[in-house]
Assembly symmetry: C2
Homo-oligomer: 306 residues x 2
């Protein structure tokens, strides 16, 4: 066991992989970071890692958080996309907050979460908290409703993240931190102009057939089949569908990192399939999970880490 | 049956979904296009749809193709990212060529391919050909080798794309056009400074454990397990691994669209897991599939569609 590696000697390490000892250097390829850089100097103060689908949304979130926590960049320093050279994800750092885009779907989220977990480990971050700030389709709630996932399941309704590993299925329980859900709910303000609900989230592998939509290029099921499926989900406490929660929940859980998924619904799927709401309204809705998560960050910020 | 919809009356339609008849308008949400626009006017001349992982690479490819085919934009018109308002994919149009980023993983590729197929249908495109110009890890070939997929399989080595639909597995054969592979191979020039090979491609759901890498934050298998798996793949004719081919192959096949996957290897996985090659070398390698596909486009361009 080398001195650098605590992975198999300490149960509380974020990484659980003795092979990492054998690496002279580790390239977090998709983030454009590597262990030849002083990752501890660059990232050890990170307390909150916020992920979301698109590059522009996560840039806006970084700017919003900077304003909310009163973060001042040193003179002459501008906020920049740290992962730009890799051209995969966009990552911004605002004091103790990382704001990172994750793209669409579990594989994209999985690569990011794996590399962020290694980053937390190499940077020796203390008790970081991960958020996914996303969009979803809801079952029974109107567009604009904010949904906190209290659990998540895959498209077979299993509460796990299963991928082929060496040709066989490898399953991890997809579980989110329950305390964090309570803390987030405590931050709901009666003056907020949006509703916040919680329930189980179904993580689909596709936007069209995979979410029971009738409007893809192919569809072999009927409107009745679709509605039966949506009501079956609803009967099991599933209140929304998106495409990244199980990878995010399972990998953060495996790392022992507290995590939460907070999405805004763009559509009530009991009423249709198409997202037709005007862009300016969608843009306003997408800020709602950001408001809640920024409030959490502001409340849990220690005075030294602005 | 409405007059607009040919989906269930003609076997050669790209879409196979009678429900599309019921839509007054169709929003290709992730492309920021909809049927209230004159999609036929905008896109009916498209003959080649080229997809690749990252936004910058697909912008570069569009610029490169413009140069290769001698495409002139009208005075005052600049090439622009057509899908920018949706902030999901980047799409550029250069005469008969669309160049679009697909992100990482089958779900992201699946959303894009579904929407591109609907776009081809609404725009009344004639015999479009789809390419994925990507990156991969190879099994037994050095970094920089160009690999044309002659077939593709999932992480369980099944030659199909299977996703949960209404709670049950729904399987589509992932099959690529065999004639197109021969045509692409015919374009190899003896003066090219790169090798081109073909074989079966394994489409993984993850970059780390899902591709038998030992360098993720978690790993429960040994170096020996990994090598056994890689040699098992090799014995079955699998020569590379990436993360988008099965969705791409299955959906284009279902639409009756000819498609090909041409990737450059960034690493020979029999020699390691980490991508450590310098960025300028990786950038040069990533142009190699573009060279071959641009050559195909140039050769198959009719004189009226530059």
């Amino acid at each position: 066991m080398c001195s650098r590696c605590v992975c198999s000697s300490q149960d509380d390490s974020f990484v659980k992989n003795p092979h990492l000892c054998d690496l002279k250097e580790d390239h977090l390829y998709h983030l454009s970071l590597n262990t030849n850089m002083d990752l501890e100097e660059m990232f050890s103060d990170v307390k909150f890692v916020c992920t979301g689908g698109t590059a522009n949304r996560m840039r806006s979130f970084a700017e919003y958080v900077a304003q909310e926590i009163g973060h001042q960049f040193p003179t002459g320093v501008q906020m920049k996309n740290i992962s730009a050279p890799a051209d995969r994800y966009s990552m911004y750092k605002v004091g103790p907050v990382l704001s990172v885009s994750h793209g669409m779907g579990n594989p994209s989220m999985g690569i990011l979460t794996n590399e962020l977990i290694k980053l937390m480990y190499y940077a020796k971050c203390k008790d970081p908290i991960f958020f996914r700030i996303g969009t979803c389709g809801s079952i029974g709630h109107e567009g604009g409703t904010v949904i906190i996932s209290d659990d998540c399941c895959d498209g077979f309704l299993k509460t796990s993240y299963t991928i082929p590993v060496l040709g066989k299925p490898f399953e991890r329980r997809a579980q989110l931190d329950q305390g964090l859900i309570i803390e987030l709910k405590d931050l709901i303000d009666k003056n907020d102009n949006f509703k916040v609900v919680s329930g189980t989230t179904m993580c689909a592998e596709d936007f069209y057939e995979g979410q029971g939509r009738l409007d893809g290029p192919f569809c072999k099921f009927s409107e009745e089949d679709k509605m039966q499926f949506l009501y079956r989900l609803s009967g099991k406490g599933i209140i929304n569908m998106e495409m990244e929660s199980t990878a995010f929940a399972a990998l953060t859980k495996a790392a022992g990192i507290k995590a939460s998924v907070v999405c805004v619904s763009l559509i009530n799927r009991l009423k249709g399939d198409q997202v037709t709401t005007p862009k300016n309204v969608l843009d306003e809705w997408q800020k709602r999970p950001q408001v809640l998560v920024a409030r959490y960050i502001k409340k849990n910020l220690c005075c030294s880490c602005k």
